[in-house]
């Protein structure tokens, strides 16, 4: 059974599977059917165990009250050994999992190494035109490489916990400088004050664009924290509307998507070719690879 069903939610869900599974040729063929992107996108990132999924559940309930229908895309890592995955983010989102106004979709990262999934750009675009008002993207949380989330979403929320002090050191040059909002989650734990002070030090540094990222503390039983996070996201969206160039954003996303498509196409070609293709030596290999690129060549 692959035709459309009478259930619009199921049709969307199936469309997402088609996009997630599409090869480069199919992805390109689907582009014309997509509405131009217009939905606000919130990205939530941070190390595993920081509490991203639970935080998104609380946040989605608040955003729903103000914005309307919310779509959540949650990316979990694919095992490099089996290519399989356990998509566990939903367990932490059980309070919202059967809310008719919130759609949650779990996505395996597959071959991507940047904390996103292969087709994240396409999946985000596919959420347009289905009656949603806002998209929340949860990423794998692998640290530095995740700055690519910056390109694909409008507001980056970085979730930290009091005990992630050493992680901060490792993250300093990466995502830590890219976040629009910092959250110190589990802030009822010891060390929260120190963590918040350290982050405030990073956040107060001039970013060059005029936005000073707030540092917000959240904890399980503290509604004030989630209220502040909700308000912080809205404030950033308002600031963004007056201070960023939509054409520049669109071009940066087009560039990311194009780079991703080429990288996937290279992978497809190398998978198709045999060992002798790899034995050529880098210069010949590169030339042969370039000759083989293009969605329809050589098939």
């Amino acid at each position: 059974m692959s035709g459309p069903t009478r259930n619009p939610r199921r049709n969307l869900s199936r469309a997402l599977t088609r996009i997630a599974d599409a090869d480069v040729t199919e992805t390109l063929a689907q582009q014309d059917d997509l509405a131009p992107p217009s939905l606000p996108r919130i990205g939530v990132t941070g190390a595993p165990g920081a509490g991203k999924s639970s935080l998104i559940a609380r946040l989605a309930q608040r955003r729903k009250a103000a914005s309307g229908r919310i779509a959540v895309l949650a990316i979990d890592p694919t095992s490099p050994l089996s290519q399989g995955s356990i998509l566990g983010d939903r367990i932490r989102m059980d309070a919202i999992a059967d809310d008719p106004d919130i759609f949650i979709r779990s996505i395996p990262s597959r071959r991507a190494h940047d904390g996103l999934a292969d087709n994240t750009a396409d999946l985000l675009n596919a959420m347009e035109g289905h009656g949603f008002d806002e998209i929340i993207l949860e990423t794998v949380g692998v640290g530095q490489a995740e700055y690519t989330i910056r390109t694909l979403v409008d507001t980056v929320v970085l979730v930290l916990v009091p005990e992630s002090g050493d992680a901060i050191q490792a993250m300093k040059a990466g995502i830590l400088e890219m976040a629009d909002i910092y959250v110190v989650n589990k802030s009822d734990l010891p060390g929260a004050d120190l963590m918040a002070a350290e982050i405030e030090n990073v956040a107060s540094r001039e970013r060059g664009d005029g936005w000073t990222p707030p540092v917000i503390r959240t904890a399980r039983n503290d509604e004030d924290g989630f209220r502040a996070l909700d308000a912080g996201i809205t404030a950033h969206a308002t600031w963004r509307a007056g201070h960023t160039d939509p054409d520049a954003t669109r071009r940066a996303r087009a560039r990311y998507q194009a780079q991703g498509l080429i990288a996937r196409r290279v992978k497809e070609v190398l998978d198709e070719e045999g060992a002798d293709f790899l034995d050529k030596g880098q210069r010949d290999l590169f030339d042969a690879l370039v000759a083989r690129l293009g969605p329809d060549s050589g098939d």
Partner: protein, 132 residues
């Protein structure tokens, strides 16, 4: 054997709180290449059906140790059908007496897995059914 690209929901309907078996099967399915979503404990058939639709799974595995397998399987099938998703395959695992197997198959279960089977047997049966 490969379940690569298949999406499978492992669900715990009803009131029993034992999910070691469900988790072992979830890990084995992942190791066979599947993308596995786990619901957590004590979910209603209605909840499970909604998650199955949003996640666009190929199959739902119900882990039931409470003895209410007949009601829970029938109810899950009914909820899926109400969402126009009756084509999603259903498997049942747990303490299922053999005299109930025919009835469960009649209700729509494509496979019934009990403690006598090895994990590999279970994964093979799901693999064969989903026709990878």
């Amino acid at each position: 054997m490969s379940l690569k690209g298949k999406r499978i929901l492992i669900a715990k309907p009803g009131l029993d709180g034992h999910d070691v078996g469900a988790k072992i099967i979830a890990l084995a399915l992942r190791d066979a290449g599947a993308d596995v979503i786990y619901t957590g404990l004590r979910r209603s058939p209605d909840y499970i059906a909604k998650v199955a639709v949003d996640e666009d799974v190929d199959a739902v595995g119900l882990s039931i140790l409470s003895g209410s397998h007949k009601e829970l399987v029938e109810e899950t099938v009914r909820c899926l059908t109400d969402l126009d998703a009756g084509d999603i395959h259903i498997f049942v695992g747990g303490t299922i007496p053999s005299e109930d197997h025919d009835e469960l198959r009649g209700a729509g279960a494509r496979g019934i897995f009990t403690a006598e089977m090895t994990v590999d047997d279970v994964v093979s049966a799901i693999d064969a059914d989903l026709g990878a």
